[in-house]
Amino acid sequence: MIVRIFLAALAAGLIAGLLMTPAQYARLVPLIEQAETYESGGAAYDHGAAPDVDAAVSAGSDSAPASDHHADGHSHDGAGFLHLGRFGNTVLANLVAGGGFALLLAGAALIAGLNFPAGREGVVRGLMLGAAGWFSVQLAPGWGLPPELPGFPYVDLAQRQIWWVSTVALSAVGLYFLVMQPKFAAKILGVALIAAPHLYGAPVPNDISSDVPALLASEYATAALATTLFFWLLLGGLLGFFLSRVDAETVPAEAV
């Protein structure tokens, strides 16, 4: 059973992850590349070739290194990793991310007690599950830490990651209480869990000035939310469909 559920989730995740790449290249990657020209204080550097030279240049001209990560050479061409190039790396990373998010979504559905009846109803439930994933992983953390472009002002990476992971987890559990539990007190608890990380406050820098143009940043935020909505709905719908097949095969139809 576990193997079948894993296969169903991975199938949904790989398809959604594969289609995420063209979706990203439609809007997000061009905006990222545009923003990278502002990343080192206006000195554009080429991410496509000769990473060592570029890394040295960018490390030298980086005006505000808030982490040593920049100082040790910050290139995005991924030449050192499997030599797939930037596009190949993104395809691979999207497949892994798709599989990972699919397993998380399937795991959450199983634990939350969601069932996927065969046919249209299973797909509709999957779409709603996908929307819940988008809310928890994209929208809720985005209220505090909006989707970043290279060149944004930032505080310590680990601090932001802790806040991000906590917000995703609290939003998912909160949404479960809000939507799946009938009692009024449970719904209040759900809203409180969703609101908690925002009342606590996201780690944002004191100085928020940036060389990245505001228009670029706002275009990126809407594009990132739209593109990931596409991904999560596709993932949820596919997951609902595949899990309903597992259902039907595992528990054979019986004459009642």
Binding site: M1, F6, H69, G80, N89, G107, F116, V251, E254, A255
Partner: protein
Amino acid sequence: MAARTFSTTLTGADTRLQAGLAALFVGALLVFGVGLAHSSALHEAAHDTRHAYGFPCH
């Protein structure tokens, strides 16, 4: 009755919980590797993906 009904339960409650926890664990590992690991090789490879999903980056 001749009506065919599909049961809407995936599996028994125990198997279901085990499968759910296992899926959460493996999924979290994959997402951690793509989105959060500090390894600079992983960061470079997953750079555009991290930005697209709104992971904290840089």
